[in-house]
């Protein structure tokens, strides 16, 4: 009898322990998933187009519509975001938008001919959700078959959503940009002076 009770206790304890160490159930945010799924659907004609100009224009239009470049641009400045003059900010954000759009075009063009589909999401907070996507029908031997493309969705106070970062296999663009931009600023005198150098570099990069 004692043994039986002990066994029950043991089983219960073991199950409790297993539950405690098991991965927590992945939270999902269906609204954010649907939001990204709708964007990916809208992106399909552009991604599927064999014509580079059509692809680039389509991606640029979608980025303009759904990606919050202002927020990403400010994030990319790290601690220097608060050290800008209004004039610097206006100039920087206009350049950043073009610079980052080029990068999105470059990355998403890698997927030309392959559609992406949403496969799940992870909730960091009510307003910060990671939506994961994968190539829907990878071509045999496609190097992207195993790649997970992440979309970071931000929900503002009014409930409107926007994309604030994109990444592949846990490597994120905005985080890379922040590393690079803050390094340019810090290595060129920091503060306002460094920001001017960054603006000049962006301008040069964009061929202005």
């Amino acid at each position: 009898m004692f043994l039986r009770i002990d066994m029950k206790c043991f089983a219960a304890a073991a199950m409790g322990f297993a539950a405690a160490i098991a991965a927590p159930p992945a939270l999902a945010d269906e609204a954010a998933e649907q939001y990204v799924a709708a964007i990916l659907l809208e992106a399909e004609p552009a991604l599927m187009s064999p014509d580079e100009a059509v692809r680039f224009n389509g991606i640029a239009r979608l980025v303009d519509k759904y990606v919050d470049m202002r927020r990403i641009g400010m994030f990319s400045l790290g601690q220097y975001a608060r050290q800008m003059t209004t004039a610097q900010r206006q100039e920087y954000l206009a350049l950043f938008e073009r610079y980052a759009t080029d990068i999105y075009q470059d990355i998403l063009s890698d997927y030309s001919g392959q559609a992406l589909k949403v496969v799940g999401s992870v909730v960091r907070s009510e307003r910060d959700i990671i939506v994961n996507s994968k190539v829907a029908d990878p071509r045999p031997g496609s190097e992207f078959a195993k790649v997970t493309v992440h979309w970071r969705v931000y929900r503002d106070r009014q409930g409107a959503m926007s994309i604030v970062d994109a990444g592949a296999d846990q490597i994120w663009l905005a985080i890379e940009q922040r590393g690079e931009f803050t390094s340019v600023i810090a290595n060129n005198g920091g503060g306002s002076q460094g920001i001017d150098v960054l603006i000049a570099e962006l301008r040069a990069r964009l061929g202005d």
């Binding site: 990355i107 992870v122 994961n132 296999d169 922040r178």
Partner: protein, 268 residues
Amino acid sequence: MLLRVLSVIAFWPLAGATHAQVSDPGDTEAFAEELKRGEVETAAGAEIDPWEGFNRKMFSVHNALDDVLLVPAAKVYRATTHKKQRKGIRNFLDNLRTPVILLNDVLQGEFGRAGNTASRFVINTTIGFGGMGDPAERLGIPQHSEDFGQTLAVWGVDPGPYLFLPLLGPTTVRDGVGAAMGVAADPSIWIRTEAAQYYRFSHAGAVALSRREPLIEPLADIRENSLDYYASFRSFYLQARKREIDNGRTNFEDLPDIGEFEEFDELE
């Protein structure tokens, strides 16, 4: 192109480069606290890269060597071999690393993964023709990698400063120590014969070429497109290395906040 960069940047010649393996998306797992903090790029890299001045010099030296030595050699390697042969060579070199991976799986308490590693070694060494093929992958035992640096990370050792050394590539102090342990764990290092010496050099050369070759275009692409190649490279490396230590489990806990920059709302 950039996406290819993202997925292959962790493969680095000679250093303890590893293979990416991403588990099913969506699963979150708890990790040791030190993995959550301290490894992601900090603003301006000040915390992770206190030796930036030195590292930048070494990075320039490396790039000069890369331009005249590694890249031309990797191009010759590409021109003289078929894609399938290169894959076979990569598989063979990876298979040679299996005992070290197994040891580190065990040291990390990852017994399921250790079982996979052992099975892979047996299957690929036998029906995989000494490791040239990867039938284990087709049997549903995918490759993963471990090294002593990752084991030290799992044991709670902080990464320490970022370090870049010519030819050895990017690392952190912890992972550099891990790489040295990896060298010491290679039996050929302790055998003082001419044949062992020959093996050591040819093995190191083969590893360098095999890992540099797929990175020819991706690295050229980052170099061309980045505003600051050094900082960009460091950021990619640190993010990729973190992913390796997390064993590909999706971990979004430690991402810096982007959306929660409430003060930016005022700008709208």
